[in-house]
């Protein structure tokens, strides 16, 4: 299937006369991804609905008791956010792989690192950021005390980009496989555990009135590590998957 949509191709065009700086490539990728995502609204909304539904299952499945739910809330919100990010992960490179534009991206002279970073940032803006903004609603639904709300949002804000970066490695490794969905969770969930631990610890610290800074700093360190190294791994994984 050849993609003939001019708007879609415009961002990928590598005209030798035009000078493409790294920033230009980055923003072009970002813009393209956002446009694509805005056209497929269901992909955008589904993780959010999933996020809500997972959180709804806990009062129904465990207990509607407010005190108990307040204890569970940080973990539930974090686990739901983690699973919702993972849900959207499989499609990150798949449509590009299927219509051949991924190969064009790999062949383009611009460093893959930058393109990958743009795609991951777009993914985060489509999933992680809305999830973070929706988290207070879930917090209220699960009777999370107001003191914890700031910690929850801050930890999600710093933690979810790491989830997108690490998940993209799994998506890149499995992009050429027909049944990549389950495999991604198997590959990526173990790597998510440190983020989950520090994220929930930050919320719990905020709830008990302890300083949150240390946990957030660790989340920030993970994000810095992910920003520096994950695009390299994603780029390598994409090259391997596409060439194989």
């Amino acid at each position: 299937m050849i993609d003939t949509n001019p708007q879609r191709l415009a961002a990928l065009q590598t005209d030798s006369e035009t000078d493409y700086s790294l920033a230009k490539i980055f923003f072009a990728t970002l813009k393209r991804e956002m446009q694509l995502a805005l056209r497929r609204r269901s992909d955008l909304v589904n993780p959010l609905i999933f996020f809500l539904m997972v959180a709804t299952l806990f009062p129904l499945g465990v207990s509607p008791e407010p005190t108990l739910l307040a204890i569970l809330a940080p973990g539930v919100v974090w686990v739901a956010a983690l699973l919702a990010t993972l849900l959207a992960m499989d499609s990150l490179f798949r449509s590009d792989f299927e219509d051949g534009s991924l190969e064009q991206i790999l062949l383009s002279p611009q460093p893959l690192f930058v393109v990958v970073l743009g795609k991951v940032l777009a993914h985060w803006m489509m999933t992680g950021l809305p999830l973070t903004l929706m988290a207070p609603l879930l917090g209220v639904m699960l009777f999370l005390p107001a003191e914890g709300m700031q910690g929850l949002m801050l930890s999600l804000l710093i933690g979810t980009p790491t989830l997108s970066l690490v998940g993209a490695i799994g998506a890149a490794l499995t992009v050429a496989l027909r049944k990549g969905g389950v495999l991604i969770s198997l590959l990526v969930l173990p790597l998510y555990i440190p983020v989950l631990i520090f994220g929930t610890a930050a919320v719990e610290a905020a709830l008990t009135g302890l300083p949150v800074g240390g946990h957030l700093a660790l989340l920030g360190a993970l994000l810095a590590l992910g920003l520096a190294l994950a695009p390299l791994a994603i780029a390598a994984a994409l090259r391997i998957s596409v060439s194989g």
Partner: protein, 253 residues
Amino acid sequence: MAGKNLMPRWFYQLASPRWCYQITGKLLPGFAIAAVILIVGGVIWGLAFAPPDYQQGNSFRIIYLHVPTAYMAQSTYMTMAIAGAIGLIWKMKVADMVAKSCAPIGASLAVLALITGAIWGKPTWGSWWVWDARLTSMLILLFLYLGVMALNSAIESESTAAQSTAVLALVGLVNIPIIKYSVDWWNTLHQPATFSITEKPAMQAEMWVPLLILVIGFYCFFAVVLMMRLRNEIIRRERRTGWVRELLLQQRG
């Protein structure tokens, strides 16, 4: 760079599956004998002759199985990641095979470490499992091994599978320092590391010498199992080449 070799000769020779098959064939008996002697000797010394612990009594003796398996589970991961990196960089088939052979060994060692840890935990902590940092990070290591194995079996092309798993193994390396230092960073139930190269052991010599013997014995055991799996893998992949046919004809007689 022309005409100048940056790597020693044996490094290039390792790239030849045939040479590798022959050299492991020569090394295998020695390592096997060493592994049997060290493990049997160490187990007898540790379980029967080492003095009981002043706090934990005889229940501490599972340390002689727990610590070596836990060490080996991590070392196997390192071996797998390093072999994977070599395979990625130098496109060396043998390194890919080493990495592939490591994963099931490492997974079984991680399971053993978790089981022996649970058996040790029951009398000392009163429960089989605690969600403590060391235990959880060890469990993550097991999951990483399972992920590597799942990815390897999901990709049909052998070279793509090897490269993909190498990337995954390298990404998972992040977990190794977390396991190693989890007992120092988080003050939890798990006791701090038993051994350290730089410090004098806190235990009596009669207690730590058998442990050291067992750790070395387990390294030899790992080498034996790895070489056996590797030889198997070499024969399987090179089954269509001339030298494997010759070898089989020779063996048949």
